[in-house]
């Protein structure tokens, strides 16, 4: 599947009025082009100053959790001694392509943001955590900055293992420390005790790119797009029912129907990726791309994965396939997740087959309740959110399957999963 920039996005006029795109240039930009467009990296000359701008901007984390960025900055800034900042480009969500694209076309926005938050919190160490081996674009960008003396801190690159949880904050810190990318129990949070015990600020790479722009243009500029509760723009990875995948920078609060088709070729939407939620059509066409809107369905925009599931596939089969993947991606550290997720996945697979046992749906519901809130990380909760929304949205399909039927005319898998799901416990490094 190819990822493309969306040059002819729907609502072109509305996007331009909101000053979009902000993050994605039409072609990859080198340091000279970056500085010509945005000016030099706007260091503030002392720690702390940027944090009030970030607070006023209302920027939230773009890695999926939507946590207010200034709060993490303030916690790390308050600490003394050695401190660490990390740009998180693990993008472990199999359907997400936005961080990879951003790092390819606008690496200097991300690297500016990393240096700026490092200055803001008084960090002594900077890291870049990537899904794949560092691309030529990233290596070139770092070399350009080094030659021009742009960076205050050298950036250490670490590659994430190809696991769903590898980008989770505590797993990331474990990996940077040389260990397996496994989540740990909180508290303490990594902002209090992270890499080697040092307070550690972990921000998604897109979040850092927004920081680089807020530092230049201010909070008011940032708030010219988005809603008052959720300002700005966000990168989304959009899957059309024909299978094309595009990264689109969308205004938060944009009508979802301007991003995803809802005609007869589409049977349901998935929003927020594999810890996200299925949304029923046509009801979901009234929703907008912001958490305040989609939470009516128990959904969240997450890291911006938006999928239009084509009408010729079986939603239940798709959901079962993804749930099998999520169960295999349990770190296996917590009893309820280790025991519950494989059972939930097997239950969903049974529902996706023909003529399931009558009690299996109730079993899946009970296991879902049993694992919720009982993991060290949010993997069980996110998986359950995905599963429960599938049981609701694809309820008619479940009834069909109970009678030995299926509405699908194509068996070709639609939702992307990594090739070769790891099965060994050694695959976390």
């Amino acid at each position: 599947m190819t990822t493309t920039l969306n040059e002819s996005a729907p609502l072109g006029a509305a996007r331009q009025a909101a000053g979009l795109p902000r993050l994605l240039p039409a072609a990859p930009e080198d340091l000279r082009g970056h500085f010509a467009r945005y000016g030099q990296t706007p260091y503030r000359g002392q720690a702390g100053l940027l944090i009030s701008d970030i607070e006023a901007s209302g920027l939230t984390g773009r890695g999926g959790a939507a946590f207010p960025v200034y709060r993490k900055l303030a916690i790390v800034a308050r600490a003394r001694g050695r401190k660490v900042v990390v740009a998180n480009g693990a993008e472990s969500e199999p359907a997400s392509r936005k961080d990879e694209l951003l790092l390819r076309v606008a690496p200097h926005l991300v690297l500016d943001g990393l240096q700026l938050v490092a200055e803001a919190v008084g960090a002594t160490e900077a890291h870049l955590y990537l899904h794949t081996a560092a691309s030529p674009e990233i290596m070139r960008a770092l070399a350009e900055r080094s030659a021009r003396g742009v960076d205050m801190l050298n950036v250490t690159i670490t590659q994430a293992p190809p696991r769903f949880l590898a980008g989770q904050e505590s797993a990331l810190v474990n990996r940077l420390g040389g260990g397996p990318a496994l989540p740990t129990f909180t508290p303490p949070r990594v902002t209090e005790r992270g890499l080697g015990g040092a307070p550690t600020l972990v921000q998604n790479v897109e979040t850092l790119a927004h920081v680089a722009l807020i530092a230049r243009y201010g909070a008011r500029w940032f708030r010219a797009a988005g809603t008052s509760a959720e300002p700005g723009s966000m990168l989304t990875t959009v899957y059309q029912p024909q299978g094309q995948c595009q990264v689109v920078e969308a205004e938060i609060g944009a009508p979802l129907r301007t991003l995803l088709p809802s005609g007869t070729e589409t049977q349901a939407w998935l929003i927020g990726g594999y810890h996200g939620s299925w949304l029923p059509l046509p009801h979901a066409t009234a929703l907008t791309l912001d958490n305040a809107s989609v939470k009516k369905y128990g959904a969240a925009v997450g890291a911006g994965v938006l999928v239009a599931l084509p009408s010729d596939r079986c939603g239940l089969t798709e959901a079962a396939r993804v749930t099998g993947y999520l169960a295999a991606e349990s770190a296996g550290q917590c009893g309820p997740c280790l025991n519950g997720l494989p059972r939930i996945a097997a239950g969903l697979a049974e529902l996706a087959g023909r003529g399931h046992r009558k009690q299996i749906r109730a079993d899946v519901e009970r296991w879902a309740g049993l694992v919720t809130g009982r993991g060290a990380c949010n993997h069980p909760d996110g998986t359950v959110r995905f599963v429960r929304s599938a049981l609701t949205v694809f309820a008619p399909e479940i009834n069909l399957h109970a009678r030995g039927q299926c509405s699908a005319t194509s068996r070709r898998p639609f939702l992307p999963l990594p090739d070769g799901i790891p099965t060994s416990e050694d695959d976390w490094t």
């Binding site: 129990f185 550290q333 917590c334 009893g335 309820p336 997740c337 025991n339 519950g340 009982r374 060290a376």
Partner: protein, 67 residues
């Protein structure tokens, strides 16, 4: 008076089950043997039993957290 809440570290917990035996009023086990802990503050009348359960956990996975 400060109240404490029981909290399980699910990574350390091995599902031994001694906590549920000592404190059935606040802890039950799920179908796989892992504890389900009452999220409400421990009532003063059960404070001693709660401390005993915490001390008895062989995995050091049960804690009383100040709330």
């Amino acid at each position: 008076m400060m109240s404490d809440t029981l909290r399980v570290n699910p990574i350390n917990c091995t599902g031994h089950g001694v906590c549920a035996e000592l404190l059935p009023e606040l802890i039950t086990v799920d179908e796989w043997g892992y504890p389900i802990v009452d999220p409400r503050p421990v009532p003063p009348a059960l404070d001693r039993e709660a401390r005993r359960a915490v001390a008895a956990c062989p995995a050091l996975a049960l804690k009383l957290a100040r709330t």
